[in-house]
């Protein structure tokens, strides 16, 4: 039975708004190697934007440019209209950009709860003296962090492992915890670097559901990197396709799917 027909009205809780992040003619080189060449695209508020491309297309470099780990040699990045000269990871975080990593970068020896609470470092102000002497400020912030973390734990359905050390969790759950840590910072823009890499079908479905739910419940703008086209096409609003550091496609999934250059790139036709 098709349930959606019974649901009246808008299917989107947050309507897609104007561009929140604009990338203008970005080029990035490592020594003589060109990682990205003259790439421009934008990301609109509340949308799910995918960056896809075969391995080595420069997808991760793209995300690293957005959150300031790499500084491009040419081009500029504007976040909410503000030009970002030298973006640093810290600055990006302060502006509301969170991310996950392709190879899980969790705090391995900490518990799930601590990982997620650690994600709120910018939302807390207590100094080490506050913490040491358990001042009211420290206690209040600790409580807020815990409440927020618990909300995320419930959201991601990981109640039964909240006090488990993350290193002991299976891969799929670790990916989920990493998403949780990124959410803890209450980001405006969430960068997900291959959130479904190495997962089985069931885990991928779960992850898709969580990504959609994040977008739907919090209105978070999401940039998603994947090399597996299938999943991405189902959940993203617009897709950028990279190949050898160049942009070869940009648009809604159906349109990109029909793009000859994209098809060639994925089928490995010689350039």
């Amino acid at each position: 039975m098709n349930v959606t027909t019974a649901i009246q009205a808008a299917t989107r809780a947050f309507a897609i708004g104007g561009p929140i992040l604009e990338l203008d003619s970005i080029s990035l080189r490592f020594g003589g190697v060109k990682a990205l060449t003259n790439i421009s695209f934008n990301i609109c508020e509340h949308e799910i934007r995918a960056i896809i491309g075969p391995n080595g297309a420069g997808k991760s470099s793209m995300i690293n440019v957005i959150n300031g780990i790499y500084t491009p040699q040419e081009g500029e990045v504007r976040f909410r209209g503000e030009r970002l000269g030298a973006m640093t990871p810290q600055r990006a975080a302060r502006m509301g950009i969170s991310r996950t990593f392709q190879n899980i970068a969790l705090f391995k020896r900490m518990s799930v709860l601590d990982n997620i609470m650690a994600g709120r470092t910018l939302q807390t102000r207590a100094t080490f003296l506050d913490v040491a002497f358990r001042t009211p400020r420290s206690r209040r912030e600790e409580l807020e962090s815990r409440e927020k973390a618990e909300e995320i734990i419930e959201f991601l359905e990981i109640e039964d492992v909240r006090k488990t050390q993350v290193a002991k969790l299976p891969y799929g759950l670790q990916k989920r915890v990493e998403l949780g840590r990124a959410l803890a910072a209450e980001p405006k823009l969430l960068l997900l670097d291959e959130p479904m890499a190495g997962m089985n079908v069931e885990e991928k479905q779960d992850m898709c559901r969580f990504i959609l739910d994040v977008n739907e419940n919090y209105g978070t703008t999401i940039v998603l990197i994947e090399h597996d086209m299938g999943v991405v096409m189902d959940i993203s609003d617009r897709v950028v396709v990279l190949d050898y550091g160049k942009k070869i496609g940009d648009g809604p999934p159906e349109e990109v799917k029909r793009n000859q250059e994209v098809i060639d790139a994925y089928l490995g036709v010689a350039h």
Partner: protein, 668 residues
Amino acid sequence: MQSVGTGATTGARRSAPRGEALPQHAAGSGETFARLLRSNASRLADRPAYREKHRGIWRTTTWRALARDVDILAAALAGRGLKRGDHVAFLGENRPRLYAGVAAAHALGAVAMPLFPDATGPEIAPMLRLAGVTHAFVEDQEQVDKLLAILPECPALRCIVYDRERSMRPYRNPELVSYAALVEEGRAAAERSGDLVSRAIEAGDGGDAAFVFLNSGASGASHAAVLSHGGLIARARAAAAAERLSPADSTIAYLPPGWMGQAIFAYAQPMAVGYCVCCPESSETLLSDMREIAPTCFLTTPRMLDTIFSQVALRMEAAGGVNLALFNRAVALARRLGRRRLAGEPVGAAERMSAALYDAVVYGPLRDALGMSRVKVAYTSGDAVDPSILAFFRALGVNLKQLYGTTESGFLVAIQRDGAVRPDTVGAPLDGVETRISPDGEILVRAEGLFLGYLGDGDGRSVDAEGWLRTGDLGSLGADGQLRVADRAGDIGVLACGAAFAPRPIENRIKASPYVREAVVVGDGRDGVIALIDVNTTSVGRWADTHEIAFSGHRDLAGQDRVYDLVAGVLADINAELARDPATAPCVVRRFALLPEELSADDGVLTRTGKIRRTVFAQRFAPLIEAAYAGRSSASLAAREAEGSMAAGVDEVKIRDAALAPADRRAA
């Protein structure tokens, strides 16, 4: 269709009108749940009524807060058109908010209809239509979707209250309102309407219908039985008095609220006694939540006990060494002492001392690990329990008892009393309950608190003119006043050789093995008994891992020869036991097969409480049963449709002969 539904609803309402001249009504005390709540709020005030583990910690709702919330909810529901005699459906897990909704419905004189949260839309649609349900409390988006999908079939349903807001943002249906929003509405409504709720509570009568429960339908289709406030309260009180329960007690609620037993122990009895109900965080955290909360009384099912017992056995096996040796000695001693105490034989000082020692070293820590260290009383109900499992928990010092009752008879009919917990009886009838055995061996019950009737079927009450209810269970009443239940009247059979055949005791023995999840034995009118067994994937999987057997899932595991060997060993021991008693000797299991798929309630083979529907089972597995009796060594079975769009395949299921004696004896 719609007119039929409405008509049926009206009929149902008429079947249980206030003040109808029924004997049990005449004795009604006039107490209602709404009035109990008010009195609890002033009497118990800041004592906990409900605790719920939510987001990592236990959140408490006191009786005072509960009463306040219920008043607000009731005002809001009244504002949304809920009237006396309307029906309200509940679809969700045990949550304080769900029970607050029940209480709010009761305050307005409406009837609560808790449903099984995992029931499918098509399963519940006829019930909603039959009762003419107007309002529903549901847990989350999943349940909302379920109801929205059947909305066209249930025109009376006009208000759906959902608890969790997650992913509900895009929904714009006018029927929907969140629990939080409803509370807001209620605050405003309460100011406007003044003492509307109080007046509604005063207008309530003990004889009013309080709940509609679906009976298990183990013997066929489910019926919706109506039960009254007064009847439920009287029974709850009688049972509480027998156990001396008080407001200081607490229970844990983890069974589906749609099951009458859970509704009684998570709502009716707490209301009547004032003890606290604790709701676990999720089914995954149940055991650890149970350990944290350590309830003093709780209701469980043989299936749950089975699971816990298997887990204990496996974990002890894994511990091995001294731990296992101590454990085995301790349990053996406790069983021995238990038998002697029951038989009234004296227990020596030396044995009493070693029991005390074992209590410090084994029983106590185990009770603690299981969260049963504070249990005053635990009931198992819903089905017969394997005597050895009952004895095991009692050996640990957990006061586990059997409780007998059916939906129609008000659930609380007989309970075992302290000092008289015999494995073969279900105890003595409660105060105010009369039992009798009909000439054809069926148990009859007469008491206050029998059901008022089935919804939509006014004549379907199996209560005779003198007020005796036919329970449908065969049994006997001993001179000691103890009630014994044989089996469902329809299940007892006769083998082709003429020997009597009761399937459930045999099944329970097979299920007591940690490797078996479910077992069904067939034999009525046949040459000997065969067993169809659903293996426990978790424990057999672990066993396979330690024996370096590769497998890819349940289907694969259940098809492995070595797993057949494993189960054959289990059956050999049981057969040896059966063969020892001349009465059961003809019932030894001759052949068996392992089922390729886990039995599930979704395809109707099990009821929602996990009981076997034998007729459905027999149909589903007919080819296998026939092949077994035909002496073939395998059978083809249409595989259940896999999730998704995969085409249904065919399973080739092996059938084996069971050994009639234990393996070691065979070897010798």
